[in-house]
Subunit: 477 residues, 2 copies
């Protein structure tokens, strides 16, 4: 355990160190695959619990589809295989024999699910059909980074079929909105929701919607996506239904996914020089009680009070832990839990007990001189909950300010281009809609992250012909 | 939708039909892999929710380990690779290239997890270490049956490391007890918990404990297992720790798993000629309200009352659904929900409303003349909950009687052997402990399912030398 690399000057190393030291992940013997350790998995469980409710509110039912997909299935949708072919892991042997047809480990499940939809959808009465799957997927990435990009990751993938394009489009956008709520309300991460440019679309989609965020190093991170697949996939898999007028029709489909990358977004948005900061709504431990004592007599009194305090907090729904380890010092415990980003620390010692109080410490304000606030034991649960709310909001506000401070209005690519790589940040500019102009951004190591609703720029950042939409340009993970 | 095959004379076909018609599963294009459809997945979610609590009560934390394991890892434990080699799916290509070392799709995760344990366990202070993973695994089975045996299945796998063999043994048995509770309390399936004979042990285990059940056709089903792995695995993966006296030691390990096979056990234990019967504690829908009406006026009144009734039941924690479909008849709805095994049906029509009552129908008593009971609307929630409890207990009692009725005391294999295959059932006999005598049972298509605590037989069923333990013999899935 050593001091973390400087977060301001060496963000990439800070990230690698903090996730190791806080025991979020560990490297595995399989290249590019990471072990999600209990503390990080508990974050994922909290995310899953909230997101699963939202998905069910969207009308989707959970189901489970096979991991292994016949290779020929991926080839049925031309753009899909073009997009995914370089990323496939292929099973060629099973039960000691060479397989007649290789099986790919799912990189996503459209092909399997639309094949099943072709069996399940026969009448307009079967629509809309909304299915969700919590699963692992494998994509053969060459450059990996825990949570952000790995060979295997965990996600949910929603797949829906509808009678009309309007209904499908509304579904894709409703999923996007649910994701936005997850990021903003639960993860305290401000985001931008928008449409991807055609070149950045999911392989096989009509429209791809994205959620983008800004990390502390000024780089953008694509948080999750939602696709209006329209009719290309269902047509490729012969999904057809008899409409109420007797005619045979092809449904309009959507798919949308939210992954363990969200944990990476939390780390890179909220962490500081002392370690992680967990947003209270998804923090595995919201408050840690550190008992402070010297003599055995004090120990007995303080531990008893700490246990009672823990009970009181649990009853109010706070996820609380008492650090009862008697082999380490309070200082070592402070360090341990600050590194792990527990939002509230409650210190309690003999003097506090004599004063019927405990000290509340806000994880966001470690560097402030007057960081401890006394709270009466009579109202400690309410005070803790109030502080958790303050921190949840404070994290969001701080990240939002950072995004606003790094959001630049930009005109000519030749002017703002160099800053994309050297200063990072978000650049809002006009765009003519052509892939040629879009490609110019890559020369500066940037990409168009998404199209924006707001229109401030009249002409394209490159060709200066009329702009069809403002776009957000950034260097991205 | 047609009548189900006769459950008494054609159980295997009844099973295949009922799971299709009730939309629990569907065949996938990948041989031996099945799609778990929403109604069955909801059962799995309910099981997961309860089992996850039990696992956390056992002290284990959830984590996630990579799906793909270097092939060489499986070879580190000699018995393990011997047992699993014929069942492996192997990834030989990734990202369009041949891999330097093939990766196997995990058939179970001991090898990956003990490798990680070797990094995480260095001191006696790190013990016990208890990890659980909810995951998919792949075993290349040739003869498959949905839920019971498939190429891919879902499970949890617990892996723990301890300082002493006694502590590890206690852990393996505590996991077994948690599984027994799951089966008996939640799934209403009576089971036998016992030790496996040495030849039936998990590949690499010192002791394998098993939970066995009896299906309606008189065949036994291994429900789940828990293993005392002791030191072979940790030694193979160099898991070592410094004990409090400074010496280096190898920990004692356990592993234990509970799978989607449990859904198969529920179907084969409780189903009847009309379809499934879902034990209330894990039923996705515990009560279905079927509104009965003829005129539009009646429809408005009845649907309003049904909605109010549903609200009242939901408030009491009952998982309830109102079948509001106006395009099908009440009779069709009865059939639909009986097939799916919803334990309680609530019928409500204009006459019932006039009498301030609804009719409660018990799914276990479809064939009885007086199967409907009126319940006052003032106490309908309590009456429904009471009936759900009655059904939960009734299902367990009925299955327990069946097990008792089919449990035979047996002496000489030559006498009871022929009945194993022709009549099925459970046969309790003495056993000398030799693998030779055990092998004789296979000549009658039976196996020793487990050793029993109770000792009623003095001599071995085959060699007639002294018995070391009573065993349970049966034909099994």
């Amino acid at each position: 355990m050593s001091k973390l690399p400087d977060i301001k000057t060496n963000f990439a190393e800070w990230y690698q160190e903090v996730i190791q030291q806080a025991q979020l992940v560990d490297a595995s013997p399989t290249r590019g695959c990471f072990v999600i350790r209990p503390y990080a998995y508990a974050v994922w469980e909290n995310i899953q619990q909230e997101l699963d409710k939202k998905i069910k509110d969207l009308g989707a039912s959970n189901a489970y589809f096979p991991l292994l997909i016949p290779e020929s299935f991926l080839k049925k949708e031309a753009k899909h295989i073009e997009g995914f072919a370089p990323e496939l892991a292929v099973v060629t042997h099973g039960g000691g024999k060479v397989l007649e047809e290789p099986l790919v480990v799912r990189p996503t499940s459209e092909t399997m699910i639309y094949y099943m939809f072709s069996k399940w959808i026969t009448s307009w009465r079967d629509l809309p059909l909304s299915i969700n799957q919590w699963a692992n997927v494998v994509r053969w990435e060459m450059r990996t980074r825990p949570f952000v990009r790995s060979l295997e990751f965990l996600w949910q993938e929603g797949h829906t079929a509808h009678r009309t394009k309007e209904e499908a489009s509304a579904m894709a956008q409703a999923a996007l909105q649910a994701y936005k709520d997850m990021y903003e309300y639960y993860l305290a991460v401000p985001v931008i929701a928008g449409e991807k440019s055609p070149t950045e679309r999911f392989a096989g989609a009509d429209t791809t919607y994205t959620i983008e965020g800004l990390m502390q190093d000024g780089k953008a991170l694509q948080m999750c996506t939602s696709h209006l697949l329209a009719q290309s996939f269902p047509a490729s898999f012969d999904v057809q239904y008899q409409d109420s007028d007797g005619s045979m029709k092809t449904p309009y489909c959507t798919s949308w996914g939210f992954t363990t990358r969200s944990i990476g977004a939390v780390i890179m948005t909220h962490g500081d020089q002392d370690g992680l900061i967990m947003p209270p709504r998804i923090a595995p431990i919201q408050a840690v009680i550190v008992p402070i004592f010297k003599t055995p007599e004090e120990q007995a009194i303080v531990l008893e009070k700490a246990a009672a305090l823990s009970q009181a907090l649990k009853q109010q729904g706070v996820r609380v832990k008492v650090d009862t380890d008697v082999t380490t010092t309070p200082g070592a415990k402070f360090f341990h839990w600050e590194l792990r980003g527990v939002p509230v620390r409650i210190e309690i010692g003999p003097k506090d007990i004599a004063n019927n109080q405990a000290m509340l410490v806000n994880r966001m304000e470690m560097d402030k001189a007057k960081k401890k606030t006394p709270a009466s034991l009579d109202v400690i649960a309410q005070a803790t909950i109030a502080l958790l709310d303050t921190i949840q909001q404070g994290l969001y506000d701080r990240a939002l300010r950072r995004m606003q401070d790094n959001w630049h209005q930009a005109d000519k690519l030749a002017d703002f281009g160099p800053a994309i790589d050297t200063k990072n940040g978000l650049y809002q500019a006009g765009w003519c809609g052509s892939a040629d102009c879009e490609a110019k951004v890559k020369e500066y190591k940037g990409t168009i992250r998404c199209l924006l609703q707001e229109k401030k720029h009249a002409v394209c950042f490159h060709c200066t012909s009329q702009s069809i939409s403002d776009v957000l340009v950034a260097k991205a993970y």
